[in-house]
């Protein structure tokens, strides 16, 4: 696996990783003579929920389309299932499900007819198709709306229909562009449940989002800004990368500046992030190993420890730090 920024990335995938389902290698993509993606590499392994996270206009959709072979890179290579993405054989195309950012089904067909059409494109026979459509309608809670014309559906229903269409042939790789954009939190949660369920079946989900906090729900995250991968890794690893370690909050009514300075000199403590009378936020190398030492040292100083907890800063903060640092 080639990482865009090896010094910043924290590889957490096992050494003997399986062959990637999606691999982009030093890809450069141009639009109107301007490079929108430059030197981007990533690898998505089977069973992962892989998130491409970044602000609007970062180039996430372009990367996704290149990964699917819908855009031809000006340089570098995109591979799906180990084969060039732009010349994927029919059998491998049948293993990909794609949910684009916009609604791309037929507005004058009903929900059921649209699913029927997509099932037909994937060569699913009528008997199996009926069962599969029934399942998906139930899963996406569209059963009562199956006879509605697609253009009469709400935006959320259209997203659900589009996702159902992408899942109808039970693809090994589901590629979803901004699945949760503009939908309510309940539906967003339902989508995530579905993505997790897909991953648990050993299938792969590659998606983009501009909701940075959704990174926490991924197995692996690539932060994209200005057409480059700013950082990548597991959510925990990215958080540690952003802060340089784990963040531990310690509360004690007697905690004063002298005590905080002593804690800062402990072996696993990197530095003091914030401190005020009775409370301190410390950056440690590993919260699991550092926390017992912190409690012990505080009590040895005659201070009563009221609460110690590992703090998980929001991914907004993580993202902001990483972008500021590396972009």
């Amino acid at each position: 696996m080639t990482l865009a920024t090896p010094d910043r990335a924290l590889p957490t995938t096992p050494v003997s990783t399986p062959d990637p389902v999606v691999a982009l290698d030093d890809v450069r993509l141009s639009y109107d003579g301007r490079d929108v993606v430059d030197g981007l590499s990533l690898a998505v392994v089977p069973g992962q929920v892989y998130g491409l996270i970044g602000p609007s206009g970062a180039g996430k959709t372009t990367v996704l389309r290149a990964a699917l072979g819908l855009l031809r890179p000006a340089a570098g290579e995109a591979r799906l299932f180990g084969r060039p993405a732009a010349a994927l054989p029919r059998a491998l195309r049948a293993r990909v499900g794609y949910v684009p950012q916009d609604f791309t089904l037929y507005p004058h067909l009903t929900v059921a007819e649209n699913l029927n059409f997509v099932a037909g494109l994937y060569g699913i026979g009528w008997l199996r198709r009926r069962r599969r459509i029934r399942e998906l309608l139930a899963l996406m809670e569209l059963t009562d709306h199956r006879r509605k014309l697609a253009h009469n559906l709400s935006g959320g229903m259209q997203r659900r229909l589009q996702l159902a269409a992408a899942l109808i042939h039970q693809p090994a790789l589901v590629v979803v562009d901004e699945p949760t954009a503009g939908i309510d939190p309940i539906l967003r949660a339902r989508f995530w449940d579905e993505f997790r369920a897909i991953a648990e079946e050993g299938r792969t989900v590659l998606f983009t989002t501009q909701y940075v906090n959704e990174a926490e729900l991924c197995d692996y995250v690539a932060l994209v800004a200005a057409g480059r991968v700013v950082a990548e890794g597991t959510p925990t690893a990215l958080r540690r990368l952003a802060y340089g370690g784990d963040v531990v909050d310690i509360s004690s009514p007697d905690l004063d500046w002298v005590a905080v300075q002593r804690l800062a000199r402990l072996p696993l403590v990197c530095r003091v992030e914030q401190a005020s009378p009775g409370w301190a936020r410390l950056l440690v190398e590993d919260s699991a190993r550092a926390t017992p030492g912190l409690v012990r040292a505080t009590e040895e100083m005659g201070r009563h420890v009221e609460r110690v907890a590992t703090s998980e800063p929001s991914f907004d903060e993580v993202f902001t730090r990483l972008v500021k640092r590396y972009a």
């Binding site: 037929y106 494109l121 994937y122």
Partner: protein
Amino acid sequence: MLSRPIRAVAPASVSVGELFRQPWLLFIVIFGPFLILLAFVVGARVYRDFPTTIVVLPAQPAGPSSLQMNGKDLDNFLRVVDTTTDRDAALARLHRGEVKLVLELPPDPEAAIAKGQQAQINIYTNEIDPLANSFFTLFVESQIAELNREAIAKTAAQTKDTVGRLKGEVDRAATLLDGIENGSVQEQRQHLAEAATLLDQIDAGLTQVQQIAQLALGPAAANAAPLAELQRERDQVNRLRNDIRQLDAQLALAPSPQQAAQLRQDVGQLQQLLTQAQSANPTVLSAPFTAQVTNVAPYVPRGTDYFLPGVLALIVQHLALTLAAVSVARDRRLGVLDLYRLSPASAGEVLLGKYLGLIVMVALIAAAITGLAIIALGLPVLGGLPWLASALFVFVLTSLAYGFVIGLLTRSEETAIQLSMLALIASVAFGGLLAPLEQLSKPLLGVAYLLPVTAGKIVLEAVMFRGYFVSWVAPVVLVLLLLVALALSFRLFATELARR
């Protein structure tokens, strides 16, 4: 194993499904074209009305004459709305568009003819449409020729009267000549002198008739049959006069019975010629030739019915072409092409599916319109329904292929629709609907045959109204267009799906 047909049917279901989801659209595409056909049949007329005309009569007409015309004479071929002697007022009304023609009659046609001139009828029109102009010119010229013919007939009738009078005189001359053999030389010479005088009068009469006929028929008719007949009669009279002079010169020497017999024989021939001239029909003399047209076509459509296969072809082509062009352009706009690109369906399977859907739909519509036309308007299908179905199938498929090519060459639905409209205009202009194909120059004829409607119209006309192909050019062209357009559409669609 069934995956391929299943994949091909999927896009087909979209076309049919989308149409049936829009009942108004369905109504419009089926009944709309039929209503256009019906309106065309009911509302359009193949033949023009007689043009509305003001006849300007001479302010000071000549005396009664057989050649003098009035408004009533012209009512047979013009719709005379007014007669006047005020030419300027009539022309002012023409300028205001109140009438189509102003026709100014000559003051004294007989005097003009007597001077060896043609009597000129002035016709004024205020038309900017060149087709209408040509129509008026041809129409009026043909009607003036008819007036000429009527004038000749009148003259011939007059001539017939004169000939009757001449025949009486010739009969008298014959009686005189009969007396030559029985009388004395003195009496015989007197009879000959009287006969010669009569012959001079006959010659003068014939000369007068010949002059009138010559003027009436015009200089171009010098060798026309009536004039030639008159010339023969005059030659006969002159020969007879010569015979009489010779006989008179010889009477002193006592005429030989052979000479007298010869003289009598010549008079007999003259009598015979005049009898023939007297029995001649003036109408036949004025128009010795007539045409009897026998149409061997198995069916002659009434009026606008003739245009129905062409209009049908135009409607079906426009429908198929637009639906196919918009179908591809809309898929591109909706983003469905990405779905096709990523699906296991090949470009060929997807396009085949699109063809299937649209051909089912357009063929049904075409069949419905044609069926309604056949039943409601009573049109025949002399080639039989299988031939009609085959012709419609090939034509619809060709039009669809053209539509797909247009849709694949354009980037938006709007452009696709504009190109479809251009194809419609070109089809109306060059497809043999407005002007016969024979009137097109060769390069333009080539362009015309690139449009499916040109060959389609000819094929449908042949299948419906003839039952056989007069020429195999049109069917062969249609099949060639189909093959080329099909191949091109599949090639372009494969390129479109491979586009990255």
